[in-house]
């Protein structure tokens, strides 16, 4: 008897909460629509931007000059390693 009464109360409160939630369009908007807008932004637009940035960096040619008093030591070490 007591258990059924508690169950009835839980059901009543749950129904009321669901109805209230369904009528709260601002929260529903924040929960559903905002992620729908944010996910394409995070997973499509950001990687595209990063890729174009990387391509730009790849296109740059960099000339490197190495200066040393005795360059032969360095070359000998390089040869040993290879």
């Amino acid at each position: 008897m007591r258990l059924s009464s508690s169950f009835r109360r839980i059901t009543t409160i749950s129904k009321k909460e669901l109805v209230e939630f369904a009528r709260d369009w601002r929260t529903i908007f924040a929960l559903l629509i905002i992620p729908l807008l944010m996910f394409p932004l995070l997973f499509i637009i950001f990687p595209l931007l990063l890729a174009s940035e990387a391509a730009e960096l790849d296109a740059i040619e960099v000339n490197v000059v190495i200066q040393s008093i005795d360059f032969s030591i360095y070359l000998a070490e390089q040869q040993k390693c290879s």
Binding site: R8, T12, V19, R23
Partner: protein
């Protein structure tokens, strides 16, 4: 023959070291419209909350006619608090039905009672409207309907006409009158003597947490040898009314500093020590 519905036996209610009510004893009989009259902070709302089973007495007990404590038989009471507490996204009827279901009343029964009383409160057309756009008067009327829908033995009203326009206040008073005429029992808290005199068959004057007088309006006039209730009230409450003290616990250094910081300085005013 008077049938006792509810009995308050030597109830004292304290909040920390503040005693809101001191040794209050009274009975509520069937068919009575009892007015609780007192100044702000006198203890009216505390007493009503004790009657409603919201508060547990520090000492004493509030028992119903069958000997059960009010905390265990809240379904026998209908309460209209000062703040209506309606769910704004639900319609008036959904609010009423929700409470009735919690008390185990069938939808059909609560609907029939709601329509009956809504007709008298001129609320029938608004039952299907969301309470969000309701005026203070309509919210108060919805709260009254909600309190009546599960057929309580006693209706407890905490300042039901406070903030209402003249017409709405009159409608609420008229409903209370009708309830009294049909054998309903109402406890009506107010700080307006004229209202208590117009509505209630019995008046209880509360002052500084104590019951100073309890009787019919005519009985109170006789008891105090006064010409009107206002005079009677003044003669019964000659000592200064206490003010609501939030807390007089000593403040910590941080609390003192914060209070000093957030309190604007008034020229010539006392500084916080």
């Amino acid at each position: 023959m008077t049938v006792e519905l509810l009995r308050v036996e030597g109830v004292t209610k304290s909040f920390g070291h503040i005693e809101a009510l001191t040794n209050v004893s009274l009975t509520i009989n069937e068919g009575e419209i009892v007015g609780l009259v007192g100044s702000n902070g006198a203890g009216k709302t505390t007493l009503l909350r004790l009657l409603a089973g919201v508060y547990t007495p520090t000492d004493g007990a509030v028992v119903l006619s069958d000997g059960s404590k009010v905390e265990d038989a809240r379904h026998r009471l209908g309460v209209v608090p000062e703040s209506t507490g309606l769910y704004s996204r639900l319609t008036a009827w959904e609010n009423i039905r929700y409470h009735s279901r919690l008390y185990g009343t069938s939808d059909e029964e609560s609907w029939n009672r709601t329509v009956f009383f809504a007709d008298r409160l001129d609320m029938k057309e608004s039952l299907g409207r969301h309470t969000k756009g309701f005026s203070r008067g309509m919210r108060q009327k919805t709260a009254v309907l909600r309190a009546l829908a599960h057929a309580p033995d006693i209706l407890l009203l905490d300042e039901p006409t406070a903030g209402l326009d003249v017409t709405s206040a009159r409608t609420v008073r008229s409903l209370v009158h009708q309830l009294g005429e049909t054998g309903g029992t109402v406890v009506y808290s107010t700080h307006q003597l004229a209202e208590a005199e117009a509505v209630c068959s019995r008046i209880i004057i509360i002052h500084n947490g104590e019951v100073r007088a309890d009787g019919t309006p005519a009985g109170l006039l006789e008891q105090t040898e006064s010409r009107n209730l206002e005079e009677a009230y003044v003669s019964l409450t000659t000592d200064k009314a206490r003010t609501r003290v939030v807390s007089d616990k000593p403040l910590s250094k941080i609390a003192k500093w914060w209070q000093k910081l957030s309190t604007p300085k008034i020229p010539g005013g006392d500084e916080i020590e």
